[in-house]
């Protein structure tokens, strides 16, 4: 942020015009992060059975569409399948001429047409043939895997991604249902969370500083102002002025509870002039309605306190990420001042132009001063820990200070599954969710059973050809998964929960594991949205599972 005026008119570049509607959401920094990233799509892992083609991979291709359009740097499609008749009825990024050709190559070709800025790569191989090259996965910033996929492929892939710190999205789209889960790196900090500006105003009326106090003290002459001037005093100064008056009759303390605040509010209301033609004053109305929201001492949110207490923040090393170094500097700022750096933004309010700008400058100057102090601490820390990498950019520190009250750290969790290796807490959460009648967790369980069925078909050389619609297979895997779910504490699942699961299975089996275009397109939208948030490190990513029920038009989020 610079306060200098730009020298001359500079119109937008053609790239800025093309991406205008999204730059308004994630700005140039988000766009740059996108353009620096290549995404890997593992879209199938070989046939499900001898005469079956396997996963159609429509949701995966639709997700890529939504990443190619906004200008991701590049994508890689890994898919050993060849294009069949049924692909053409569900996948838009294939055409008549694609029949019999490599699906990876054909979808790659038609996706690339969407945006000449994007690189596309394709491999008609299984992913396990590619990961033998240790350089393959690290070329990518994110991995999307289309399920169902055999466990012997999924598990090592997720494990490698975790070691490399590459986020993974694992998805299913079957009939009217879809589910997907995100595996983020062990620590995933976000600075630009984009909170709602309405709910995040930080005006510090009870933690003011000398320049602000001085501005308010000029209002001693408030009563002598003419009606026009009186009606244009910025409400922030009005509140500060009346706070001083209040304190004089209240042992020097500001209103501290609801009762006092409402009394103070009435006190402010009573000071408005009503003898003017309008019968009231807008700036006083603004002051009155701001009392409850703004007359509170600064308080550190518990989520920020938690971040300050995290080990990464307390124990900096030469390898610490920028985030933790700045967080640590801000922690010591809070330690010495009892507040976070001032964000410095001011809402619009009834005021004369010059008065508003003067007040805005008081906030901006304080914010700048706070940034300078934090920057000095950052520089100190950098030399203390013997940091080798280049100094943290000033801009980065400034953005952090502005967002300090809303930073977030997500602790990445593994792709959830119901298996012998499952986390006990995951199983417990799933069981608890089953107590709620409206829960969509039965859909998650049904896709887990589908995974299990497919795992057996793909992994074992079954003597007899088994199809994905094999009732005996479904029966045995359903019993196995339900036993795993209840096994921990030996409590039998109640009939209602069992019935919910049976219904979800019935809907999945109705589609015979196949995809419907609408549901896959919607899922591709959701998956791409999460990919965008993870790659740009902006907004709040899913943590960690989303379930969509297209039969009843609902979604739910679960932390499994």
């Amino acid at each position: 942020m610079t306060d200098a005026f730009p020298a001359a008119l500079t119109g937008p570049t053609s790239k800025e015009r093309k991406y205008d509607r999204q730059l308004r959401l994630w700005a140039a920094t988000g766009q740059q992060a996108l353009e620096d990233s290549r995404v890997l799509l593992v879209n199938s892992d070989g046939p499900l059975a001898q005469h079956s083609t396997g996963v159609s991979g429509v949701a995966g291709v639709e997700a890529l569409k939504n990443l190619v359009l906004p200008g991701i740097g590049g994508f890689t499609i890994v898919d050993p399948a060849t294009v069949t008749e049924s692909d053409l009825g569900v996948n838009f990024f294939l055409e008549e001429e694609s029949l019999g050709k490599s699906r990876a190559e054909e979808t790659c070709r038609l996706l690339r047409e969407l945006n000449p800025d994007v690189q596309g790569y394709h491999y008609s191989k299984r992913i396990s043939d590619l990961t033998v090259d240790p350089d393959f996965l690290p070329r990518h910033k994110l991995i999307i895997i289309s399920g169902p996929i055999r466990r012997s492929t999924l598990a090592p892939l997720c494990w490698q991604a975790k070691q490399l710190g590459i986020p993974v999205l694992y998805l299913h789209s079957v009939g009217f249902f879809s589910t997907f889960s995100v595996q983020l790196p062990a620590e995933f900090p976000i600075v630009e969370t984009h909170p709602d500006p309405e709910s995040t105003q930080d005006l510090r009326l009870l933690n003011s500083w000398p320049e602000l106090v001085a501005a308010a003290s000029k209002l001693e002459t408030l009563d002598t102002l003419d009606d026009h001037q009186h009606g244009h005093v910025p409400y922030i100064l009005l509140l500060l002025h009346f706070l001083e008056q209040w304190k004089q009759t209240h042992d020097g303390s500001a209103p501290s509870n609801y009762k006092q605040k409402t009394e103070f509010r009435e006190f402010v209301r009573g000071q408005a002039r009503t003898s003017n033609p309008e019968g009231g004053e807008e700036n006083f109305d603004e002051a009155v309605s701001a009392v409850l929201k703004t007359i509170s001492p600064f308080e550190l949110r518990s989520s920020i306190r938690d971040i300050f207490n995290m080990e990464e923040c307390q124990q900096l090393t030469s390898a610490s990420q920028d985030f933790w170094i700045i967080a640590s500097a801000i922690k010591s700022f809070h330690g010495s001042h009892g507040v976070l750096p001032l964000p410095g933004s001011l809402p619009d309010m009834k005021a004369q132009s010059a008065d508003y700008v003067a007040l805005q400058n008081i906030y901006k100057a304080k914010a700048r001063k706070d940034v300078e102090e934090v920057t000095a601490t950052v520089r100190q820390l950098e030399s203390q820990i013997g940091r080798q990498s280049p100094a943290i950019l000033d801009r980065e520190i400034e953005v952090f200070c502005k967002n300090a009250a809303h930073i977030k750290v997500v602790r990445g969790r593994s792709i959830p599954q119901i298996s012998i290796d499952s986390d006990a807490s995951t199983l417990k959460k799933i069981r608890n969710e089953l107590n709620s009648e409206d829960s969509l967790v039965p859909i998650f369980i049904a896709t887990q059973i589908l995974d299990s069925v497919v795992d057996e078909i793909q992994s074992n050389n079954l003597e007899k050809e088994r199809s994905i619609d094999d009732s005996a297979l479904w029966h045995s895997h359903t019993e196995r998964i339900l036993a795993l779910l209840t096994g921990g504490d030996g409590v039998a699942m109640d009939t209602a929960a069992r019935e919910q699961i049976a219904r979800a299975i019935k809907e999945v089996r109705r589609a015979q594991g196949g995809e419907l275009h609408n549901i896959s397109s919607l899922t591709g939208g959701l998956v791409a949205q999460e990919a965008l948030k993870v790659i740009t490190r902006q907004y709040g990513p899913l943590d960690n599972t989303s379930v969509f029920d297209g039969a009843r038009s609902r979604t739910e989020m679960y932390r499994l």
Binding site: L9, K18, N66, G89, V90, L516, S546, G550, A551, M557
Partner: protein
């Protein structure tokens, strides 16, 4: 465009293994599921009726909607769009390329999807939905809209409601509507006259409050105020002979420069070209992923309505993607005082000392009316009429009068607006 060559069944049409191609779709249309109605008959009959359903689509979500309908088994789709392709569409409207800029959206999109998905016929019309009459809309089974203007939404809603003939079930055309803004959006299903309509839900989508004119004219504080001044006031003063065109780069540049100078004069920071465009064109952020989510949820509802293969949305799903994936599905209420589908006048509280002119101005911003150019009358007299000019002249003096001098407390007025074909009834209660 020669559509005949693509008509299914004609000699030139490629021979397609229908069962193989539509395997996944036919699976769910040929078997009941746990949520399907007990009376539902799956199989060829359902497939046949789906494929013969004529669907009407319109709006900015059109690319996604056409693709989704074509891959949901619909064969006869009509699309209306008045816009031409702009460079800023390319980040999400995936059927358009750099070389298509300037061409009509409806034609390019229709030709693309018809070429890609064999056996589907898409009939484009370049123009406004308001160009067509009830006879035109009567031919469709379902209407699906991803319109970006609230005015067009209200128009199609009122039109479909006025078409309903209780004696003729075919006259009831379900309306499926979707809209997006950044990471947010909504999908809704409206059964005209039977369920909550767009007009019933109008106050859920309140317009952003406008900046008071005196702020813009005399006491700007924000960069946006300077842009509004350049756009609304400076342009009128300096270039009143040119009609302002927000797509003309020279015009935008002029406004930007004027706003920028004014901002400098008042020591206001932050006027940028991007912000200037955003303010004068009222730009709403839009991304491919949200478009995909909302378009697919609306087309999924169309598939369910047309085939009964699962229950359809009853009746509203709101969506927000900033923090994970959040949706809220609920039944919006049908209102008896809805000016379009209800039979009672809508109550409105007003200040008795307000002039008629001020009241008329306020109707544009009030969430429950949102009417830009209203004319109005009571049962006995015309209060203000914009057209014809003679009537405008003879009612103009009323604009200066206070409401209390023109109407009684609790009196009903009928309001018309050139954007809509119907009258809106309001009962005005004095505060």
């Amino acid at each position: 465009m020669d559509l005949d060559a693509e008509t299914p069944g004609s000699p030139e049409a490629p021979v397609v293994d229908q069962q193989g191609r539509w395997k996944h779709l036919y699976n769910v249309l040929s078997k009941p599921g746990p949520y399907t109605d007990e009376d539902w008959v799956p199989g060829p009959e359902t497939i046949q009726s789906l494929e013969s359903s004529k669907i009407f689509g319109a709006g900015g979500l059109g690319c996604e909607i056409l693709k989704n309908l074509a891959l949901s088994g619909f064969k006869d789709i009509h699309v209306i769009d008045m816009d031409t392709i702009d460079i800023s569409n390319l980040n999400r409207q995936f059927l358009f390329r750099q070389a298509d800029i300037g061409k009509p959206k409806a034609e390019v999109a229709a030709a693309f999807v018809q070429k890609r998905v064999k056996g589907v016929t898409i009939t484009p019309y370049v123009g406004k939905i308001q160009d067509k009459d009830e006879d035109y809309y009567m031919q469709f089974k379902i209407v699906i809209c991803g319109l970006d203007s609230i005015e067009a939404r209200r128009w199609i809603n009122a039109t479909l409601i006025s078409m309903v003939d209780m004696e003729d079930p075919e006259s009831l055309k379900p309306l499926v509507d979707g809209g997006t803004e950044g990471f947010k959006g909504q999908a809704r299903v409206i059964l005209p006259t039977l369920s909550s309509c767009i007009e019933c839900q109008l106050d859920m989508h309140a317009p952003r409050p406008a900046v008071p004119l005196c702020t813009i004219a005399t006491i700007p504080r924000q960069p946006q105020h300077c842009i509004e001044w350049a756009h609304q006031i400076a342009w009128q003063e300096k270039r009143k002979d040119d009609t302002f065109d927000s797509d003309d780069m020279e015009h935008i540049s002029w406004v930007y420069n004027a706003a920028y100078e004014r901002a400098q004069h008042f020591h206001i920071h932050g006027v940028t070209f991007q912000m200037t465009q955003g303010v004068v064109k009222n730009i709403i952020p839009a991304i491919a992923s949200t478009n995909a989510v909302i378009a697919a949820s609306t087309t999924s509802e169309v598939l369910k309505i047309a085939s009964s293969c699962n229950p359809y949305l009853d009746n509203y799903m709101m969506y927000a993607g900033e923090e994970g994936v959040y949706t809220y599905t609920f039944e919006a209420e049908k209102k008896s005082d809805c000016p379009v589908c209800g039979n009672l006048a809508r109550k409105m509280n007003v200040d008795r000392n307000m002039t008629l002119g001020e009241f008329i101005e306020s109707l544009g911003e009030r969430a429950e009316s949102q009417l830009k150019k209203p004319s109005m009358r009571t049962e006995e007299k015309t209060l203000y009429q914009r057209f014809p000019p003679q009537l405008e002249e003879s009612t103009r003096h009323n604009l200066e009068l206070k409401l209390a001098d023109l109407i009684e407390d609790g009196q009903e007025i009928a309001v018309s607006d050139p954007a809509y074909t119907i009258d809106f009834r309001f009962r005005l209660n004095f505060n």
